[in-house]
Structures are given as C-alpha cells and as structure tokens.
Symmetry: C2
Subunit: 172 residues, 2 copies
C-alpha cells in the first residue's frame, strides 16, 4: 500500500488554499490542503507498523511550533506548481529529516521546500496569468502545528488518513 | 467549527465503494467512504478539547471488532440513498451510543443504521436502475475495526481528519 505523511494546516488556511485549488489544482478532490513531509512510499503491514512506532517516537520528541506564510512561490521552470510558501523553520526541517533516515527509506527526490500547493498542472498561459496575479497579492498566515498525519492512497488517487500523531501525546 | 466522527473501513472496501460513488454519489470528492458514528455537530475549541478526552476514554474502553457487509440496502422512500449495509453488532451500537450521551450532544435525527453510502441524490429513474442492479449483486466483505476518526468540515463541504483514536492505545 502507498503511504504518505503530511501536516494539515488549520481551517482558515485550508479554506483560503481551497479557494484557489478549486479552480487551479487538479488534485483538489484527492486530499485537503497540506504540507507534505514525506512523499508517497510503499510499505506492507509489518513495515508500516514498525514505522508507526517510529512516528510516535518522533511525535513525542517534537514540541508544537509556529509556521508562517507570507507569499506564494512556484517550482517553475521545473513544474508550474504554485504554492503558499511556508517559511523554513528548524522544527520543520528536523521533523522532515527524521522521516527520511533510520528505519525510513530516504525517498526524497528533491530538497525539502515546505509548501501548500494551490495550483498545478496548469497550461502555460494559465500558469503565467495565475502566478502573475497571485505574486502581487499579499498573504499572511501564522499557524500553530501540533500534529502530523499518516495517510494511505486509494485506487482512485485520493488519500485517507490512517493515523494522527500529536506532539508529546503518543502512547507507545 | 463543524465536526463529525466516522470509521474508515480498510482500503479494499473503500476502493469498491468508490467505484460506485464516483458515478452515483454527489459527495464522492468530499470524504472517503466511511461509516458515520456521529453526524455533523458544532463545537468551539474548548468544547472539542473536552470531547477529545472523552473520545480517548471511549477508544481505550473499546476492543477491536469485526464488521460484515453482505448486501446493499436503501433509505428509500425517505431518501434514495443506497449503501453497503454493515451488519449491526453490539460493539458498533455501544460505540455509537457513547458518542450521544454524557458530554456529547445527542444530535441523532434517526435511529443508528451502520452503513457506507455508495449513492445519493440520484434522480428517481437513475435510483431505480442502480438499486435494481446492485440489489441483485453479491457483496461480501469482512473487516477489522480498531479506530475511529474525528473530522472537521471545510467551507467547501469537504472533511479533514483532526485526530485518530485507536482502540486501547490512547494516551490520556
């Protein structure tokens, strides 16, 4: 089964992201707005149960932290994805690093850039228009992060949450 | 904020349900296939934190149990919803009951019929066709349930999981 790990920001940020995703993100219906910590990876039942214990340890070793969003950015020219740029923090870096070492496969295909996707798979012209407009807009969000979610992917491409890991609150 | 509580069955059942939901369920994109334990209810931050403690107690007092699906059924003529009928078990009844008493508002609008919706809001003709066909089909699923999920609703009507409660494993 394919799993992934993500943070869901609080409702106001998800609602704002969805206002754009509805029109511009081909994955709109597959998963709520999120910050990916670990990209899709394969695991059988035994392996995922091992990793869940690790994730509980990671959650218990993490303190709630703040994130800030101040602007949109883009992965162009690699892809024309547009996203809310989440300011890099030591806590985010550390959390993401721990999920790519030890018992965790390092399945990173590019450096970790914390972000919430709001547009992807646009045609070139549409991309230019949308990014041009959003790039001049002001976005200002602060959020408190106290958990992350392990999810699995269904055959239709959508994601279902399997388990939540709350910082400092996991029973091992 | 609006919250709800549901069980997500395992991936094979969700995939089978989605094969129908994609064509016949207007809520297909809003939430993965699920068994609703508690319908949408309002709670502020303080209240939901109280309820989360209760939900942990409930989860810790519940042992993993099996569910069985043997056929489709319908809520017609009240609504033309078609669903995988989940056989009633004492564990499901007990779990659902505990979320409607004590600190929990009793927001039940009809008796508890455990089910996984696969079609809703169909036109009458389409409903008759679909139910006629599905009613003659054989469905046979067994699943082990060991958790439930607290979710909240976004402005677009979709649901995001806030927290998972695993039976016997919650830290209070």
């Amino acid at each position: 089964m394919k799993y992934g790990i993500a943070i869901f920001p609080s409702k106001p940020i998800q609602d704002e992201a969805n206002a754009y995703r509805k029109r511009y993100d081909s994955h709109y219906a597959l998963i709520p707005p999120h910050i990916t910590l670990k990209e899709s990876f394969d695991a059988d039942d035994d392996h995922i149960n091992d990793l869940i214990v690790e994730l509980k340890h990671i959650a218990n070793a993490t303190k709630p932290f703040s994130i800030n969003i101040n602007k949109v950015s883009t992965f162009a020219p690699v892809t024309n994805t547009i996203y809310f740029k989440v300011e890099q923090t030591p806590e985010l870096t550390e959390l993401q690093k721990k999920m790519h070492e030890g018992k965790f496969e390092n399945n990173m295909t590019h450096p970790f850039v914390p972000h919430i996707t709001i547009a992807q798979n646009l045609l070139d012209d549409e991309y230019s228009d949308v990014f041009g407009t959003l790039n001049m807009s002001t976005f200002q969000f602060e959020d408190k992060i106290d958990r992350f979610q392990l999810q699995y992917q269904l055959d239709n491409g959508s994601w279902t949450v399997y388990e939540t890991f709350v910082f400092g609150k996991e029973h091992i």
